[in-house]
Point group: C2
Chain length 404, copies 2
């Protein structure tokens, strides 16, 4: 008898009919001879409605109270899913995050899980129950309700899986799994059967919407093997796990395109020590995450500093930099959203030299100009013109034979 | 510095604007030099929506899960009210029933409060906070979420008032207080400044919608003085408290009309021992509450048994009695909703003889026929034709000079 944790996102439980579908899937898993825990999100739209309600009462709602408010969303779903399971003749019982023994720190709206005491979960499972658990929430040691922030329900599922030593953790979502590239851009993209934590982390960092990096990090830290799969069909998904020697045989795992980037350039910067520090401290103080940075050493003691940010933050970045531009005696700050970031990810890069060279050759052969470059041990990213993004992704996908 | 508990019902917190109004009222009470606890219901309509959602998932939802679901309604309101208080510059913090230390038995959907440990409530109050507490809910000693059933938020307020030894408990509702009669029927009905627990209990039992009997019973048991008043104006309400000698000077406190009654009659019942027991056991087994009972001893060994029930249960009552009618050899069972119950309530009846006589004379003088009579120590009820109800109420209100 295996112990399986299943997580269903907001779209999968978006209305009573879908909740009943999830109930059928959960029950089938139990009837196949397993113990099952279902971790669920708030029904899609509910969290947004609650936030809207809060803003009508206070433009900047207190974070402790926001947690009390938002936690009701998942609490609603666990009860409804348990009821739907009863309707199928199953034994089922719901637990809030607090009831499931999920203890967090006190950082409201983005709390971290401190520990889990899954005593009640085991008791209910041992009595033949399917247990539905509210994702995204927990409580502090002194009993304050907390929420875990974006991607919190995935984190709950993986943390519960670690705590109860589950045999498998399934993350049900609205996509079939992780692909070698976005199938809307690269038609012959293939679903991956498996991927390493590190590769999944790079993909998450690249803005792949499948999962938040923190959940993958947690899974890696505690060695939780999980599967990303669709709640709308029965196709096998993608298994995410510690890398194996065999995984390195594959040079690159996938090609990702991120079109939500903008490039900010400060032109005519006097080439003196401490200038870059001043620029990036200003950006950091404004809570803006930067990605790729390039500093061109130009002639006559002046240089250009360019970096990329999420396109929604480009306006804010240029605004906070205006006074800095004056202060450091630079010429101007400008931004453009006409760029895209193209990335190749794969642990195979470590043992296969020449990957970058082949990528650059492929781009050159397709007349794609490279604006900026950034690399990590298992990733190469290039900033290119937005209009070239799709063509470049398909070319690289083909060059590395990812569709085969 | 007084400690005041205020309870706001679903209509009073029905939308963000009303929640802000409640926040202003709560803050004003604190600024007048008091410690304040605000017990709140779910926003009007929310509980019904949740019940509808549950029924879409399961026609007869499990009661434990129903409690998990419904408890989200009040949890939403406490967070929103705390946020609204922050918006006014107040210190405020919310507590669910469980967090407020409300421990109940395990009878889901109609749990009874076992005890309250208001440690957190005191701590937050002592730190200068207004505390918002979710009405209607608690948890069992082993941490299951429970709800208290109809009128549960009033009960929470009164129980909290008893536990924290509050100086005053104010029940804010959509009426101004308790009146000598329904002002829509008796235009010169007057608001009562005070009323005894026992009189309030009789009015609740008569279907007066101001408060459920169990909350009044709880207040009586623990000596909690409370005031029923409107959240939409600043008029003083009605104080409900232990009776004083002075209260007995008033012969009757009020006249109530209940038009939601039906009379069920079993005709041609053989006059044998045990027959009535069989009839009323059947009714009790079907969970139908009966009110007034009359058995007419007729000639030739046959009798009629009549009783009144809530009109919504009349159909169910006649249905469950069909087999009994056959079994006991009675002629038939019929029901009519063309009746009303008219009641006079007052602890003064105990010391003022002739109250019933004066009531019957007044009805006779107005050509109102009395069908059934039921009395308690401080109440006289008569069943009359529905068409006579309003006229009769006005006549009695005048005869006992309640409008003066």
């Amino acid at each position: 008898m295996a112990l399986i944790i299943q997580k269903y996102g907001g779209t999968s439980v978006g209305n009573p009919e879908r909740i009943k579908n999830v109930a059928r899937r959960v029950l089938a898993t139990q009837q196949a001879g397993n113990k099952v825990v279902a971790v669920v999100s708030a029904m899609s739209g509910v969290t947004d409605s609650l936030i809207k309600l809060a803003k009508e009462v206070h433009p900047e709602p207190n974070e402790r109270e926001m947690d009390v408010l938002l936690a009701t969303g998942e609490q609603t779903t666990i009860a409804l899913l348990a009821m739907a399971l009863h309707g199928l003749g199953a034994k089922a019982v719901s637990l809030t995050g607090a009831q499931a023994g999920i203890v967090t720190d006190g950082l409201h709206t983005k709390a971290k899980i401190a520990n889990i005491t899954p005593k009640r979960v085991h008791e209910f499972l041992n009595n033949g129950n399917i247990v539905t658990i509210a994702g995204f929430q927990g409580e502090t040691p002194d009993g304050q309700i907390t929420t875990l922030g974006r991607g919190g329900s995935d984190l709950t599922a993986i943390a519960i899986a670690a705590a109860v030593k589950a045999d498998l953790c399934q993350i049900y979502t609205d996509v079939d799994g992780v692909y070698t590239s976005d199938p809307r851009i690269v038609p012959n993209a293939k679903k991956l059967l498996e991927i390493s934590y590190d590769e999944m982390l790079e993909l998450a960092a690249l803005g792949s919407k499948v999962m938040q990096a923190r959940s993958v990090e947690f899974a890696k830290k505690f060695g939780v093997v999980f599967e990303v799969r669709s709640s709308f069909n029965d196709n096998p998904g993608t298994i995410v796990k510690e890398e194996t020697a065999k995984m390195e045989d594959v040079v690159i795992r996938g090609v990702a395109v991120d079109k939500n980037q903008a490039k900010v350039t400060i032109a005519g910067v006097p080439d003196k020590p401490g200038i870059a520090a001043k620029v990036f401290k200003t950006i950091a103080d404004a809570n803006i995450n930067i990605d790729v940075i390039v500093q061109n050493v130009s002639e006559k003691g002046f240089t250009d500093i360019s970096f990329t940010v999420s396109s929604v933050e480009a306006g804010k970045a240029t605004k906070v930099l205006q006074p800095v531009v004056k202060e450091i005696g630079a010429r101007e700050v400008t931004s453009t959203a006409d760029i895209a970031k193209l990335s190749m990810v794969g642990i195979g890069m470590r043992s296969h030299p020449g990957v970058a060279a082949k990528m650059f050759e492929t781009l050159a052969a397709n007349r794609v100009n490279i604006d900026m470059i950034s690399t990590s041990e298992i990733k190469i990213s290039v900033i290119i013109a937005l209009k070239d993004a799709d063509k470049a992704a398909r070319a690289i996908h083909d060059a590395f034979e990812l569709g085969k």
